[in-house]
Symmetry: C2
Subunit: 319 residues, 2 copies
């Protein structure tokens, strides 16, 4: 708590003059403990000690007492990431309100593609409205926003639709500051995009088929799953997460492995993961599932298993 306060004090003194185009300025009195408390609760009342909430007009930068969200994610302050992240979520949320931003996600609970977008929005601290679509009876809004594919997820930002989960993730990363989803280096970005595509094109179809595919193709699909998961295992190398120390694009995309895979195994009564053969991937799944931002983006496991068992009663999926 003290450390958090001193970081803010230090940042205040250093960054006070950094922002010139000031849109809105709020000043409310408060002590450091209450500041931190309100951050943890994501309260928007901003009872901040000797401080201002400043939203820059020029580059959407946000300053809490001269403390910019850009600096929040800079290496200088990485040792106090937790506080910074919470602070950033808070100011992003506040900013959304101030700037009149409207973020709406059309999704379906249980869809790993929807989960991806929820994880990314939560990591960035973006406030959004969630609209659950009944895929058997799609809403006129969904059909209007995605006339080509008529699918979820659709992210509507200030009235403009963004489609396809991988495209939405890049859009979120390029639009909001805070937790970076893609690395900065072009080669590392290309590597992350490659693995995201690999997971979408190779892993998920094989996992799905091995559980819900036609009977004659299931055996082959199970072999395919063990092959592609081994490739993913090797890519993890000695890293904790695919993104290194922090959740990145590949981790978010791999929700189909980190979450859906286990749910499908249980629902379809198929075994696909072997801890002895894939120890790193299994450790990654544990880490993935224990991340608080990911945990709160996942649908209830038992309900999803019941839903899947009911939907695919005959044992295989109607495509």
């Amino acid at each position: 708590m003290d450390r958090a306060y001193s970081v803010i004090q230090h940042a205040m003194s250093q960054l006070e003059d950094e922002f010139q185009h000031i849109l809105i300025r709020n000043t409310v009195p408060l002590g450091a403990e209450r500041l931190y408390g309100s951050i943890r609760q994501r309260s928007l009342s901003f009872p901040v000690n000797n401080a201002k909430i400043i939203v820059g007009e020029d580059d959407m930068s946000v300053v809490v007492s001269g403390f910019s969200s850009g600096c929040i994610r800079s290496k200088r302050w990485s040792q106090t990431f937790e506080l910074h992240h919470e602070l950033n979520c808070l100011v992003q949320g506040h900013k959304s309100v101030i700037m009149g931003e409207e973020v709406v996600l059309f999704g379906t609970r249980g869809s790993p593609y929807t989960c991806r977008i929820e994880i990314a929005l939560k990591l960035k601290g973006v406030q959004y409205k969630y609209i659950d679509e009944d895929l058997a009876n799609k809403s006129p809004s969904l059909l209007k926003y995605n006339p080509v594919h008529k699918k979820v997820p659709v992210l509507v930002h200030n009235g403009k639709p963004v489609l396809e989960s991988l495209v939405i993730l890049e859009y979120i990363d390029e639009t909001w500051q805070g937790h970076p989803i893609l690395p900065e280096d072009p080669y590392e970005r290309a590597t992350a995009r490659f693995w995201a595509k690999f997971i979408d094109e190779k892993c998920f179809p094989a996992i799905f088929k091995s559980c819900w595919g036609e009977e004659k193709e299931r055996e082959k699909a199970v072999e395919e799953v063990s092959l592609v998961l081994k490739i993913l295992e090797d890519e993890l190398k000695e890293k904790k997460l695919f993104g290194g120390e922090n959740v990145g694009l590949v981790d978010i995309v791999a929700v189909v492995v980190g979450f859906s895979l286990g749910v499908y195994e249980e629902a379809a009564r198929v075994e696909l993961l072997n801890k002895e053969k894939l120890p790193r991937l299994c450790n990654w799944i544990d880490d993935f599932l224990s991340d608080s931002f990911i945990k709160e983006s996942l649908p209830p496991r038992d309900k999803l298993i019941a839903y899947l068992r009911n939907r695919f009663k005959s044992g295989n999926a109607s495509k």
Copy 2:
């Protein structure tokens, strides 16, 4: 010619002091006409009048007489794009040599995916070595660089492989200055990525199947092609190119429509394009095929038709 010279003179006087970390400085005397001539020939001898070739160490910026490649693509100078582009190609090529950059493309002539990378590298003015792969007998290098998919294209930049054509295009755009491939605005970027994905996932498979698929699926594929091409037609709206005035990501990816489609139609003796139903798309194909950078990246049409007829003799493709 005079206009080109005055633009350079003007840029010289304005930008002389812009770059501070100077790595290499060459000065050679010459007149304006010879300067422009040498640019057209992509000569590396740089006989430049009263001028310097400066390669910045800090940000890889390049200045020809105080004329940075960053400014070459700025809006200020867009009216003299042709000269700027050639100039940029020249300095990029020179830079590659100076910085010891090594760019190698493993591809196959006739593959639209390989074409995409050649178009992008040429647009950026990046010098590269092309290695043609025999897909029936893949080289050990290809298998080393792409052990997961064992496919072309592979771009190897200073020994590091980048895989998958869409990923490579983004890498090229993020790595080299010059002609921008993706727009700057995040929403426009998302839109371009959406259409690139649409072309890869919907258009190309349908085009391929309608020409080389199994007989029973061809009729359905022809219907699918007319549906997806109509969607693309509508996306063009009143634009000359998908990228607006200049070739962008969607235009490059759509080489499968702009070039392969016509080749496949002729080789398989199938009609897929109807000028009356798709007038804008047909105009786009004309503009696409008349662009000089695209023209020089395409494989010889007649040879490709002969190859395809030979390969798919039986009338459909063995996958």
